[in-house]
Amino acid sequence: MKAKTIRINADVTAVKILGNKIFAGVGGHVHIFSVENGRSQIDATFEIFEGQKIHGFCHDTERDEIVVFGGRLFLIFQLTKLTECGIIDSPVHKVSNWIQAVHWLQDGSIALALSNNMVKQWKDGQIIASVQCPIKCIIYSALLLGSSWDSLVVFSGTVFSEVLIWGSDGKVWHQLKGHNGVIFSISFDKSRQRLLTSSDDRSVRVWQKSADSTWSSCSLEQVQELYGHQSRVWRALPSKFGLVSIGEDSFVCQWDDSGKELSKMCSHQGGSIWSIDICDSYLVTGGGDGGIMCWNLEHGFETKQFGSPVNVRKVAWTPKGQLLVVTEDEKLFIMQECGAIEQAPFDVQMIEIFQDLIYLTTVSGNLNLVKDVRSKAAFLTGRVSDGAAVLSVVPLKSTTFLVSLSSGERIFWGFENGTLERLASYTASPKTKGVSCGLCIGDYCVIGDQDGFLQLFNWKSMEVEQNLNMKSEGVTGICMFRGLIWATCKEGKLLTLLLEHGQISIVNAGQPKLGMLAGLEVTSLGLLLYSFHRENFSVWSWDQQRPIFKFHCPGGGHRSWDFRLSSENKMCFAFVRHKKAFYQQQRLKDVAAPVLRTGLHLNLINCMVPLDSNHLLSGGEDGSLRISDVVSGSSCTVIQAHLSSVKALLKDKNTLVSAGGRAQLAVWQILNINSNWILKLVTSHMLLESAEKSVKAPWRDSYLNPRADPESRYMALCLLSHNESKLVFLAACSDSFLRIFEYFNSTLQTLKTIAFHKTCVMTVSSTAELVASGGSNGVVAVWNPGDLFNEEPKPLWSEVLHQGGVTSLTVTEEKFLFTGGDDGILLISTLNNGINILYKIDNSTQVSGIAHFGRYFVSTTSGQKVSVWQYTSEGCDKSFEKSVAVSDLQGATLIISSQTSAQICVFGKGSEVLKLDYN
């Protein structure tokens, strides 16, 4: 039996930029990307170490050789050979201790700094020299400098908060004290002659080396102590502007020479950022979510003031990136390329720009539609109100727009034939604040207003067919993306809605935690969300799941502002403050950088099920459900589904049940729209709902988050029956009960609570004829499904099969029972008149997951081993075994594609997909 890794997703613990190539260590695999003109592609993937993460790369320019290292292992390969032959076949070498740093010496040997504070010299397969630092302790970081073994300078960052500087003669020259925690990184800024250290104590420290002296004789003075991270600082590296640090808090902090914080970007979904490399103003980070991202370090972009003495009311950008300004005295100005100001011949109070048309309106209802504001001749002129004040003008499509009036009336206007024509109208509450956005989809128009409602208008019936209360302070933007309607709400809610059979329904309501959401738009960069948070306006990319640019904009988003990605690929932002207009324009190429790989879950993956042969659905400790591509491993869809962790998934046909911490259960409808998989929430349920508390911050309360006592956890789910529209399933609960739920008519209810297990029920499994459950005390019970509904249900058989908890369990149609325990034992039993153990397999670590297919089954252990076994009632043989670099394995799921091949997806802190050929 053979297997090949087709996808790996794990902590990215090493990244390296070499020219236009980027090397990334993902688990034991090296991924090579090439980046050109802001675009990236993956060139190749090699598995270098089996079951060991890669922790670093070290390149020698002269020989063009690269050392890859991780744990106690390292490997050397030649870059040219790699490009020519496309293979890495060099041997893996092993040393006595964990490698903290590698350094090339001029004679072609390499120096290795080991975690027991020792350095070794290695050449041609042998250790030729070795020296132990007289201060013996565990080191968490190291740096090596010097061109030869004799001139080697060793910097070691100890567990005792010190940086030791010593030579290959074993003499310690300096013992830098200052940090109050483990030293996680040391780097040297050659141009500024400064040493940079980062630590557990949340600080980065900068040490200045005295000029014109050797390391043995120099003096070192701590010149800066930088606090910017909320959590541990993993790395600090010099950059052309100063330094950049990354940490557990998922911030990339940029500091200038003097120690001033230049910028702070949150990324990798709030998870740890493990690795970083900088080349000129280009930066690459690797995260705990498995994401790999490029960044542009250029900064110092200046916000300019629109130079005029006038009081500004409104700002707008033309598609070409020209700024238009409306003043309080109703004048319109154009800002020239050179910065000069030109007045346009129109009196105007409101301005909207849609495609190539500029809508200039006064509150009293005079409209001028123009293509060029300089020309007095308007494209179209008319009145859009009979007297009531115009609150807003919203262009819908090239020849249709909507005007909302203070009377509550909302009028659709068209000008298809060159004249202004009233098409339809409807009335909202006279207290309305006006329409903010609208979108035409076929025969329908979806309108969002500042009152927090969405209206579905039907062009055929000329009526509003639905008026949905979004329970929001105002809908700020609406667009069509991947077959769904997306809407942003002022208080920070992001909604996805489905228009189907003339009805709008909510698919999901998320809270991306971006602050005030001011709008969204589908651009050439994909879906962009605009938000105001603290003193910044952020442009946040949905595809990249990170901000792509921040504009400094003190004062919030309640005033006039406009953002546009111009036809000349400039990001243009303008806002009004204290009646003055401010603006910034950036070339996209100066600020944007590609994402090489988007991350998946940022913590443990607890459960996974296949959706089809190309897509996997997973639930994680981070409370999210994600749909990912089997091959690329990138998230296609992210749904913040649960308040706490998602521990179990049950999929039957198009219904999905997710369950997890805080006794939360959710039922989803699985939809496929325009070949995108979509999960639509049907109902969410919690066991113990406390009285609704008054909510101070409504945006923190997404509609699917009922408040509840964080009491119990659901550990596992299994199906009992599914007919027509009724789904009955069993849940294993941490409060020692088994609970039967029924999902019918969009509601969930508890049918029965079964007390049998005396401790936490860890796992359940079922077939049509049998149900099995396992507890944290080692007890396994086998039930007749019908008996579960009895007054006092009793299992058919129950036995203590394991010492410690039953961590995995599967029952098959052929009445085999597989159980795995914390004790490392895997048992295969038959279920005929009792539990009859056939085989017992010992492992040194916990058996965390079992999945079975045909005459085979797969087991995973917390020791990172994946094994495939072939079994019959006569024997059981291991067909395949592999150590994977995904740690904390929680289990496996299978995609069976044919009689002879299957894909095993193992998951834990990351995931790996193995393609198995078994003939």
Binding site: D11, G71, I138, D200, Y227, S272, S736, G804, G863
Partner: protein
């Protein structure tokens, strides 16, 4: 989240506070002791990497306070790099377990006699990367094993925390090269989902064997789940009212002494104070705007 939510989630956390233990890990040693009778007849015990001191508390209670057969000769020495609040009957050494001077200090307290029991519940601050954490933990264990071979009596016992990860077989083989009997204990107060477990090593070999590099174990150590089957289980959720007792919130017994991020916290507090005025301004501004609308 309310302050009782952690009490709800973790029964041993709550019990530890109720019973006056500095950390819930006290129950782990109590349960291992229950299974292996570790502390019966022990006169001299050493607690390595002792801070915050919950295992020292257990040693003190079992060997001195609640010991019906105590002779008055009982001695407990706790070693840690960090300072720890005193525990009755426990002699503290603030030192490094890898240093010879520490060995000498221990012997001086024991009048040159060897210990009957050495325990070590030390663990590094985990980074979140399993491979590094497991490696550092194994290094810590080997350091503890090294000092143990010097201070433990031939018939003595050694108990230490391990992380059961991918290289655990190698660690087992190293322990088996020093001891005749090695077992793996998993107390019920340690969660099933945690990779933590404890090795219980008995009877030192007169001559240390060379462990095989590939991790060739003599045999897989026996796995023993420890703790009363009728007792509490750390994976199970319990109601706040245990056995009908009324629930009362208890403060943690011992907060961390001098954590690495102490300075950071101070700065943070200071900053928060400074910006408080600023925040007030913003709030006023928002109120004004709202009233205008």
């Amino acid at each position: 989240m309310g302050r009782s939510s952690k009490d709800k989630r973790d029964v041993y956390y709550r019990l530890a506070k109720e019973e006056g233990w500095r950390a819930r890990s006290a129950f782990k040693l109590l349960q291992i002791d229950q299974e292996f009778r570790l502390l019966d007849g022990v006169t001299r015990a050493v607690d390595l990497c002792a801070a915050p001191g919950s295992w020292s508390q257990v040693l003190s209670k079992r060997m001195i306070k609640d010991n019906p057969n105590k002779t008055g000769e009982e001695k407990i020495v706790a070693v840690d790099l960090q300072a720890m609040a005193p525990v009755p009957g426990v002699i503290q050494i603030q030192g490094d377990i890898t240093k010879m001077t520490t060995v000498e200090q221990i012997f001086s307290h024991f009048q040159g006699l060897k210990a009957d029991l050495v325990v070590c519940d030390g663990a590094p601050d985990v980074t979140g990367l399993h491979d590094i954490d497991e490696y550092i933990q194994s290094q810590l264990l080997l350091a503890a094993l090294n000092i143990t071979t010097q201070i433990l009596a031939p018939e003595g016992k050694f108990v230490a925390k391990i992380f059961r990860g991918k290289d655990i077989s190698f660690l087992y083989s190293q322990l088996q090269s020093v001891f005749f009997h090695v077992a793996v204990a998993k107390p019920r107060s340690s969660r099933v989902s945690s990779i933590e477990a404890f090795v219980v090593c008995e009877k030192m070999r007169p001559i240390k064997l060379e462990p095989a590099e590939g991790g060739q174990m003599m045999q897989l150590p026996r796995f023993v789940a420890c703790g009363d089957l009728e007792g509490f289980d750390s994976d199970t959720c319990y109601p706040l009212e245990l056995d009908g007792r009324e629930y009362k919130y208890h403060q943690p017994i011992q907060t961390p002494i001098k954590p690495p991020y102490e300075q950071f916290l101070e700065k943070h507090k200071k900053q928060a104070k400074e910006t408080e005025a600023g925040q007030q301004n913003t709030a006023n501004c928002v109120n004004r705007l709202n009233s205008q609308v």
